[in-house]
């Protein structure tokens, strides 16, 4: 009696709980996945089936996968993927994303695949995800062949009969080229279906035309990207992690992922083939045959079964050696049904790119120019701007800031992004409004002595100066022959100063990439800020002026006493290699250039450095290769990709780029208390600051108003103080230099709106378009940007009015608010200008030095300018309905719950009877054993 009552109560309670859940769940679901990443799991089982159909379970792994970010992804961005519970990997390869890694045993394979993973038909406009839409880079990953009739993949219990034939998936018409290539007994083709509709078969020899691979399969050497297919290594504890670079169609058009084309990260925990050599899972009457159609003999089947049941010839964690790994558990069988069925698919959502902005429109996009530091920012803001109807379309031409500044001055462009001040001030009234705060970063990709990737690096200004000034001879013949480098270590890994600050890195005498810092050849404020730091650092400056470091390393005489800062690092060393080397090296002989300039080999742009750092490619262009090049030209090639375990590259990038591409960044020295000239063995007495929020925030505190520049500049002298010690020395503010006279009303409004956005919604950190990407410090009052905020409001007024006013850096008294300045329904408020210079005209001539001065020269004198007004910006007042939100789902749940509760109450006896009989039948069945596969 009481038991029944309890049952009723439980049922009622359940109904209420379920009803309650329905109210709570829908509200809480949406934002959860966005920021937190995704966790998914699968139970991967491997079984063997005997000739009589008896099935034994060989292994069972409960695999859990975690992906750090799956929404708002951008091209080449790296996401962190980690897993646990997987089978430990054997025959471990050095580089899990190399093609060779496919031969590992039990790898955790990660692939980027196009399509939607569904059992039914893919939604309209998308394809269904399958191994054929998954990217792999090399031919051996798409074509498997064996000289035996019984490779393990033919015994896959989960595979369909047609996939267990001797030759699977060949193209309908084999090209003539394939006839000259020897074909093996069994073949498995795994064609790649490109986004454009083309099918690339790969095959035994794509080089001879049998058959081609997608164009993106070219390796990094010829300009392509290295593969992102990762044969992840699982440790003995079942755990592993890897950084996975995701590709949009900009990087890989054949894969073709974008905001519109659905793609997924697919993780295949390789557990090995579930063997069914005798074909018990095949339909009745099907037999495994050879290529010629002869059924396999019993002895062939038995040999094949034995091969298929192997569980690895390597111990877990054992590095790959010369003996072959076991085929049945190899990574290159990731596509086999036994492995593929255990896949974990994590849909990737790519952020909309500026591609949405119309290429052709009635209105010409606003053209802004300058700072590469803003690349990530404008990549996020541009799609937002052109899809928001109250805003507009703009472009960001990533050009040298110095050029942008002079073009603004001459009136040829409407605005510039710049960090450094214009030498001598602008010859035209401008507002220089702070819109972003970030910095340069020295990124590195370095492997420690234990072959693990290094996460931290300390650099001081002197080490950077040594790298830049061609003071490491790189090779012994330069050291022996060069007049000024005789006593210097060959490269940074041999420099005692570097070793003192960064213990644990192997000394390497043949490392040309360790003799220079990858930097770009064009002018940039990034270089300006870097050299400013070198100039301000007492040790670095003294060293550049000729004082040797405590170990006696001297500056390259060509750079001695170099004037800093500069915005383009000069290549001054002119030591040409000795004659024997010229004779020896055919490529070098073609054009004997100063050798250390080839080692430095400045790159064309920030993007190239980012790519080199992401994939650890050395930029030193000293390699002579005959393969594939015309012997008459024979260019010197760069050293290219370094092998994992032996990576060492350093490069100058912007901090946001480092964050986007997951580059490791060095901590830079802000100050030192170590006596000059004293040798040191560790980092004691020196403060190294990471380029993180704390470091940037502290650096923001060092911004000092500079009336000559018209901006705030980082006060380097403060770095030595207690306050400045925690500041990241590489911090850089970026200013939008917008003219305040001579622009048309429409342009002025656009420029003002840009500033309004930059001061408001644009400073909210986030991954979505329109927000502030990682690597920038939000310009908020909390971060110490109150003065800059007031200036911004002032600048908005000045830009809107176009009356030639130059906003004051410090506003005394009541500061204008941005909200008010950005209210485009009212006229612009008067601009607060520097005290003592009414009108601003005494300092800056109001008329711009424009190419076409006629229409604009008179503007500032016009007394009554029509106020620039617009319709008031009102916001949509949408309605919300909680009834709508919970009504239908609640009703649905209520209906189901009451139906369940009602039927249980109504037919309780019947149910109890059923339960009792079921229990007894289960008890009876146990012992007579033997479970059969359902499929």
């Amino acid at each position: 009696m009481s038991a029944r009552r309890r049952a009723e109560r439980i049922l009622f309670a359940l109904a209420f709980v379920l009803g309650g859940l329905a109210v709570v769940l829908p509200g809480g679901q949406a934002p959860a996945g966005a920021a937190e990443g995704v966790t998914k799991s699968v139970t991967a089982v491997r079984t063997f089936i005997d000739a009589d159909g008896k099935e034994t379970e060989q292994s069972r792994d409960k695999v859990k996968l975690r992906v750090s970010q799956t929404t708002n992804l951008r091209g080449r961005q790296e996401i962190k993927v980690s897993w646990e519970g997987a089978h430990p990997t054997g025959a471990v390869a050095a580089d899990p994303s190399s093609s060779d890694a496919r031969n590992q045993e039990y790898p955790f394979v990660l692939l980027q695949c196009r399509g939607v993973d569904t059992d039914s038909v893919a939604p309209k406009g998308q394809v269904k995800l399958s191994p054929e839409t998954c990217w792999t880079q090399t031919a051996p990953e798409r074509y498997l062949a064996a000289a035996s009739n019984t490779p393990s993949w033919r015994f896959d219990a989960w595979a369909q009969a047609k996939d267990r034939q001797a030759v699977v998936g060949p193209p309908a018409d084999l090209p003539a080229a394939c006839s000259s290539v020897s074909r093996l007994t069994t073949e498995r083709w795994l064609p790649f279906k490109a986004a454009g509709g083309t099918t690339y078969y790969g095959g035994p020899d794509p080089g001879t035309g049998c058959m081609p691979l997608p164009p993106e399969s070219d390796d990094a050497e010829s300009g392509g990207l290295p593969s992102n297919t990762t044969y992840g290594i699982t440790g003995k504890d079942g755990k592993g992690s890897v950084d996975f670079a995701v590709w949009t169609k900009a990087e890989n058009a054949s894969l073709g992922c974008s905001a519109k084309v659905a793609c997924s990260l697919v993780a295949v925990p390789v557990v090995g083939i579930s063997c069914d050599a005798w074909g018990t899972t095949l339909p009745e009457g099907t037999q495994l045959t050879t290529k010629a159609g002869v059924p396999l003999t019993e002895s062939q089947v038995e040999t094949g079964d034995a091969t298929c049941r192997r569980t690895g010839s390597y111990e877990a964690g054992e590095p790959a050696a010369s003996r072959t790994s076991d085929q049945a558990v190899r990574g290159n069988l990731w596509w086999s049904a036994s492995n593929w069925r255990n896949r974990i698919t994590v849909p990737l959502e790519f952020a909309q790119t500026a591609e949405v902005c119309p290429v052709e429109s009635a209105e010409k996009p606003l053209e802004l120019m300058g700072s590469v530091m803003l690349n990530e920012l404008t990549a996020s803001w541009r799609p937002k701007f052109c899809t928001t109807s109250s805003l507009y379309s703009f472009t960001h031409v990533q050009q040298a800031e110095s050029l942008a500044r002079s073009l603004v001055q001459s009136g040829e462009i409407k605005g510039a992004f710049s960090t450094a001040p214009q030498p001598g001030g602008y010859q035209r009234p401008v507002a220089q409004a702070p819109i972003a705060f970030s910095g340069f970063a020295i990124a590195f990709s370095i492997d420690d002595g234990d072959k693990q990737r290094r996460e931290e690096l300390n650099l001081n200004a002197r080490l950077v100066a040594k790298l830049l000034s061609a003071s490491y001879p790189a090779v012994s013949f330069v050291r022996n022959g060069h007049p000024g480098l005789g006593d210097n270590p060959l490269n940074i890994t041999l420099d005692p100063e570097f070793r003192a600050l960064n213990p644990g890195i192997d000394e390497r005498s043949t490392l040309q990439a360790g003799a220079a810092l990858q930097i770009f050849s064009s002018n940039s404020d990034l270089v300006w800020a870097l050299t400013r730091w070198l100039d301000a650092d007492p040790e670095a400056r003294a060293w550049l002026d000729g004082t040797p470091d405590p170990w006696g390393m001297k500056v390259n005489p060509a750079y001695k006493g170099l004037e800093l800062p500069v915005d383009n690092w000069p290549l001054l060393d002119d030591y040409v290699a000795p004659q024997w080397y010229i004779d020896d090296n055919a490529c070098y002989r073609k054009s004997p250039t100063p050798y250390l300039q080839l080692v430095a080999n400045p790159l064309s742009g920030l993007g190239a450095i980012g790519l080199n750092l992401q994939f650890a490619s050395s930029a030193a262009a000293t390699v002579c290769r005959y393969d594939g090049y015309d012997a008459t030209t024979l260019p010197l090639r760069t050293e290219g990709r370094q092998s994992v375990g032996y990576r060492f590259v350093l490069g100058l990038v912007s901090l946001p780029a480092a964050r986007r591409y997951n580059l490791r960044t060095a901590a830079l020295q802000s100050t030192s208390t170590v006596a000059t000239g004293q040798q040191f063995g560790d980092a004691a007495g020196r403060t190294f600051v990471e380029p993180d929020t704390t470091g940037l925030k502290a650096a923001a505190g060092l911004l000092a108003a500079d009336d000559d520049a018209g901006t705030w500049v980082l006060d380097d002298a403060e770095l030595a103080t207690a306050k400045g010690r925690a500041a990241y020395p590489g911090a850089m503010p970026v200013y939008a230099v917008f003219p305040t006279s001579g622009e048309e009303k429409a342009t002025a409004t656009k420029l003002a709106k840009f500033l309004c956005y930059a001061g408001g919604a644009g400073q909210v950190p986030g991954q979505a378009n329109g927000s502030l990407p990682a690597g920038y410090l939000p310009l908020t009052d909390d971060n110490g940007f109150a003065t800059q905020h007031a200036y911004l409001a002032n600048a908005v007024n000045a830009v809107r009015a176009q009356e030639g006013a130059v906003p004051a850096l410090e506003v005394s008294g009541k500061a204008p608010t941005l909200e008010k300045a950005c209210d485009f329904s009212t006229a612009a408020a008067p601009v607060v200008e520097p005290a003592g210079q009414p009108g601003g005209g005494s300092v800056v001539p109001p008329a711009p030095v424009a190419v076409d001065p006629a229409p604009v020269a008179e503007k500032p004198v016009v007394v009554a300018v029509v106020p620039t007004t617009e319709a008031p910006l009102s916001l949509t007042s949408g309605e919300q309905s909680s009834l709508g939100r919970v009504g239908l789902p609640t009703l649905l749940l209520l209906a189901v719950a009451s139906a369940v509760a009602g039927s249980v109450l109504r037919w309780l006896e019947l149910l109890q009877g059923l339960l009792v009989s079921a229990r007894s039948s289960v008890r009876g069945a146990r012992g007579s054993g033997g479970r059969r596969r359902a499929s």
């Binding site: 916001l875 949509t876 189901v896």
Partner: protein, 304 residues
Amino acid sequence: MSADPTRTRVHDGEVDASPPPGRGEEQVRVAGGRVMLALSLLIGWFLLYLLVLSSFEQNHAQNVLYGELRTQLAEGTAPTGAPVRAGAPVALLDIPSLDVESLVVVEGTRSRQLQDGPGHRAGTVLPGQEGVSVVAGRSTSYGKPFADLPDIVRGARVVVTTAQGEFEYLVTGTRFDGDPMPAPPGEGAGRLTLVTSTGTGSWLSRLQPSRTVYVDAELRSGAAAAGPRSAPDPEPTLLASHVDRLSLAELALALQVLLGALAGFVWAWNRWSRKAAWIAGAPVVVAALWLVSSIGARLLPALI
């Protein structure tokens, strides 16, 4: 309860003739079960009506309205300005990218009118005319004409046919709560704002129309002169329930019909033949239930 079942006791007093203690509880349980099942059936019916059957109702209404509007367009008597009777057809709407074809827009945006089709908001100009015209439509029930509206892309065509001709609009954007409103259209320009409700996030969002979404479309060219406007609806909210006296009265009457039908059914079941009761009674009951649901649904928010 105090009786010990292991030992037999002899009653020396009066024999207890009341039913055994478990029996009454048993009946309560079975009755409770029946009530729960009935409740489940009722809710199930309402869901079925709202999500499936109501679409038939709108389809029928659309057929009738289409015929009416067609005639009016041919005769040139279709409305070009106020006054328009609430529920009267005013325009024909086509959105090719959403597969919306020849949908008749009626006057008024109350729940009652939106049961027949998308409604033209009282107080705004008619579609095709100079100024802003607002048309609201349901997203979840009654044919869900605007269910796919939130997915519309910029630049999609919206074609409206009224007595003043055919007008082509191009979608310029989608707005939610808090997004900036576009500036009012200038002289000689026309804008059509389509309103519906939508859910957010989860896979259940189709069943959770919780907030309004506005889609603005600009007239390509040739706005007609604005006709007289009607007075704006005193109850402007579209996602709130409006309980008006007329609907309540109708609901009361419909419930009486349902009760009558049920009573008749029960009578026939008990006194007549059961088979005959099914054949004759069930359609009547279902029809009455339908009537009740249709009128009851008018108490729900108009955009659902």
